[in-house]
Amino acid sequence: MAEKLGEILKSHILGLRRYAMALSGNSIEADDLVQECLARALSRAHVWAKVRDHRAYLFTILHNIYVDGVIRQRRQGIQVPIEDATPILRALPNQQERLEIRDLKRGLAALPDTHRSVVLLVGLEGMSYRQTADILGVPIGTIMSRLSRGREMLRRHMNNDQNERTERALQDGAMTAVNERA
């Protein structure tokens, strides 16, 4: 049984880690969440035989830990890995794409937790609407409205960021032109 459980956990750990990262926006917190999730899954090993959808079950555990906020309290205001804090400082080939991803991360961070989790479970983890409803413990109709609102908020956020950038670039351009003339 322990071996089988090990196999199950292994096959889902990467997805859990990705979701935890996107949900929390911090890789240290993400790994703590996954670690705690694994520990809780092990402590409930006796119910595993009854679980039909292992993946959804693990995501449910992880999500509940996130909502409890225990991990965050434990870590209150400590380290932020440098790559999370300064994505823009790293020289990367495709600058435009990097900016888009930065906008996305900011937009996600601005979403309410309840909406962010739906957008991520559906859009990133490929969960069905039914699975998402089960994981978050809310009716499917609520999932649909959060998905719709979450995506729209994210879109507007990303559009704003992009517009601001364009405007700034135009202003910079104008300033350069003025300086050159002077």
Partner: protein, 310 residues
């Protein structure tokens, strides 16, 4: 913030399902007609699909980073067959691992001290990453310096393979998707057996390079998965599941373009028919190598062209 209102026959949740590739096939035409008439809505749908793609670009990196040593250790202990002891022991190991987390987090221990473990776990993937990875490997084989000659050349042969796969999996795909609208022609295909899964690779070629569609009969279940995007090196991939099959589309073309291709493929494949009688009668002409097999959906564009290679 308010969402724009729609005609009565297209609901907001239909649009969301359309974004995720989860819309029932019989509603798809209605939604597409609606989007054609409402450019703002079409723009919104495009933006939401782009969000899904961007999410993968932003976070898939987490699936490639080595796991923290603590997790490696935990999994290692769980899988080692020696002392399959009671859960209490597992919990104690968990506590030990938790202590290690602190050690690692405070920089006392470097990941490099467990190279073996990192290797081991790096090979574990969730099921659809595994499918996608195999699709990418199969695609990479085509683009190697000396790409191997196709065993089954031409569109007719490609279609024959589709028919064969349909027959073997008691479910049907009518014929290979037609991608002429993207200047991509079916160059051929091949069949693999990987583990216990039967897999078909269809290869399309055009001026912009090649695209391969990797089709596997999915023994797992019928549940549909949303379009899942992944970038592997220079290659973009889209994964989705439809009926009894799973698909991975792989190409070096930009992701937006590949998404358009994926949409057309998904549309053309339509709802798989599971009635064995229907599938058998459909399959026969494919197996006899006939070209110009009608796809179920749509009109002029849905004929598979004459073989382009002999």
């Amino acid at each position: 913030m308010s969402i724009i209102h729609h005609d009565a026959q297209v609901r907001e949740e239909d649009l969301q399902a359309y974004v995720d590739g989860l819309l029932e096939i019989n509603l798809r035409a209605t939604v597409e007609a609606y989007l054609a008439l409402h450019p703002e809505e079409a723009e919104r749908v495009t933006a939401y699909r782009a969000q899904n793609v961007a999410l993968h670009q932003a976070y898939d990196i987490m699936t490639r980073r080595p796991l923290p040593a603590s997790m490696e250790l935990m999994l290692e202990k769980l899988s080692s067959p020696d002392r399959g002891g009671p859960f209490r022991r597992l919990l104690r190991r968990g506590a030990m691992a938790a202590a290690l987390v602190l050690a690692v987090a405070s920089g006392w221990v470097a990941h490099e001290e467990w190279p073996g473990l990192v290797q081991q776990v790096a090979h574990q993937e969730d099921p659809f990453s595994a499918f996608t990875r195999r699709a990418v490997e199969a695609h990479a084989m085509l683009t190697g310096d000396q790409s191997p000659p196709l065993v089954e050349k031409g569109a007719a042969a490609g279609n024959a393979l589709v028919g064969w796969l349909s027959q073997r999996s008691s479910s049907s795909i009518r014929s290979a998707p037609n991608l002429k609208s993207f200047d991509l022609l079916l160059a051929g295909g091949r069949i693999f057996f990987i583990r216990d899964q039967l897999v078909l690779q269809l290869i399309y070629r055009g001026k912009q390079g090649q695209v391969s569609l990797y089709v596997g009969a999915s023994p797992r279940d019928n549940s549909r998965t949303t379009f899942t995007f992944a970038q592997q090196g220079d290659l973009s991939t889209f994964y989705w599941r439809q009926g009894k099959f799973e698909f991975s589309l792989v190409s070096g073309m930009p992701r937006e373009q590949l998404l358009d291709v994926a949409k057309v493929v998904q549309n053309q494949l339509g709802e798989p028919v599971s009635d064995p009688d229907v599938s058998r009668s459909d399959v026969r002409p494919l197996l006899s190598g006939g070209s110009g097999i009608d796809l179920r959906k749509g009109g002029g564009e849905t004929k598979v062209g004459a073989p382009i290679e002999r």
